[in-house]
């Protein structure tokens, strides 16, 4: 893994010099135990069609395609555009990061399976190097977590965390 990280950092350095990064060849490693898999996304909610249309398009997996519509049942914005997404294993013994954008991301610590289904999680919602909120919550596959974050331009940034089914 040290080699992998070094290759990664070297790739970053190469990019800064305008070169195409070399392909990363992960070494065979023993993967740490995981408790679940989550999908995290940052969504821009706005009433401004032009602002929404200007967002780069993200291909959302079919199983999460209903999320914008579900957001519309909670919030009163007209448009919900997924800006970034991250599918991530939740490690049993290590912290997991869900980073759909560079600006807003989530730290996830597994607290084990929840009684009645789902996962007990400790979550920290970060904006750059400032933690906005810490919470202990149960995340169930059928009940995603929506976090209404800071306002941006004419709308608001929403963070979505979904527990993937079948894990």
């Amino acid at each position: 893994m040290k080699h992998l990280a070094l290759v990664t950092l070297l790739s970053a350095a190469a990019c800064l010099h305008g070169q195409e990064p070399p392909p990363v060849q992960p070494l065979p490693v023993k993967k740490p135990a995981t408790d679940a898999k989550v999908w995290g996304a940052l969504v821009f909610a706005t009433n401004d069609d032009a602002e929404a249309a200007a967002m780069p398009k993200v291909d959302v997996p079919a199983e999460f395609a209903d999320i914008p519509a579900r957001l519309g049942k909670v919030f009163e914005w007209k448009r919900y555009e997924v800006i970034g997404q991250h599918l991530q294993d939740v490690f049993r013994e290590y912290e997991s990061w869900v980073v759909p954008t560079k600006d807003l991301f989530l730290k996830v610590d597994s607290k084990g399976p929840a009684e009645g289904g789902g996962m007990n999680l400790h979550l920290q919602f970060w904006r750059d190097q400032q933690v906005l909120v810490k919470t202990d919550a149960v995340l169930k596959a059928e009940s995603p977590l929506f976090i209404a974050g800071p306002k941006w331009r004419q709308g608001r940034l929403l963070f979505v965390l979904v527990l993937q089914k079948g894990r």
Binding site: P56, V74, G84, Q88, K102, A137, L139, W152, L157
Partner: protein
């Protein structure tokens, strides 16, 4: 149990609270009283041992939150009659000023943790057990939306993201943790490393991207 007067004098002497006249009188009594000398030596040794085993300063977790709790307690104390300065028996050494401060801090930390654990959420949403917002002026509330079948956590009072900030998303398919380096490398669909999440010296997240997402 109240502290006997001689113990109180001893504590004041140890704490350096006496004026010159009081100190001369006490030290004269001390020189003439072997049992008082033994007690003074014991107290000094206890104090020294405690000082050597406890750090002079301890970082307070969630400092913003505890500062607010301390302010609340100070405001409450202004409305409370002062209690007798001395408390009990040979445990009077607990009254040493630095130790009192340490215990008061610990009590506030404990009270803060209890308050944090008990902070319930609006709407009685059983899926959110606790919420802690470190920044003053930010309010958090949670509820369950039956229509959306979702748990909702709303943060009000956050500083707006600057309108000219270009927010560009990642498309991360998985992340791998590096146990030795305590870092997580994030990969896209094509297996390319997009970013590395690590921690800085202050234990704050440090995100290194392989490309500049803002273009």
């Amino acid at each position: 149990m109240n502290t006997p007067p001689e113990d109180y004098e001893l504590l004041r002497w140890l704490d350096g609270e006496m004026n010159d006249a009081e100190q001369d009188a006490f030290e004269a009594r001390l020189a003439a009283d072997p049992s008082l000398q033994a007690e003074a030596a014991l107290m000094k040794r206890l104090s020294s041992d405690l000082r050597s085993h406890l750090p002079a300063e301890m970082p307070v977790p969630y400092a913003d939150f505890f500062n607010s709790q301390i302010q609340v307690r100070l405001a409450q104390d202004e409305n409370v009659q002062p209690s007798p300065a001395v408390s009990g028996g040979w445990f009077g050494w607990l009254r040493l000023p630095w130790l009192t401060t340490a215990f008061a801090t610990a009590a506030l930390v404990l009270a803060g943790l209890v308050a944090w654990q008990n902070s319930t959420t609006a709407g009685g949403d059983e899926l959110v057990h606790s919420i802690y917002v470190p920044k003053a002026g930010v309010q958090a509330r949670s509820f369950h939306s039956k229509d959306a079948r979702a748990t909702v956590l709303v943060l009000d009072g956050l500083e707006d993201m600057p309108a000219d900030r270009k927010i560009v998303g990642f498309n991360i398919s998985h992340g791998e943790v590096d146990e030795a380096l305590a870092a997580t490398t994030l990969f896209d669909d094509h297996g390319r490393a997009v970013a590395v999440m690590s921690k800085d010296a202050r234990n704050q997240p440090l995100l290194l991207t392989t490309t500049n997402p803002r273009g």
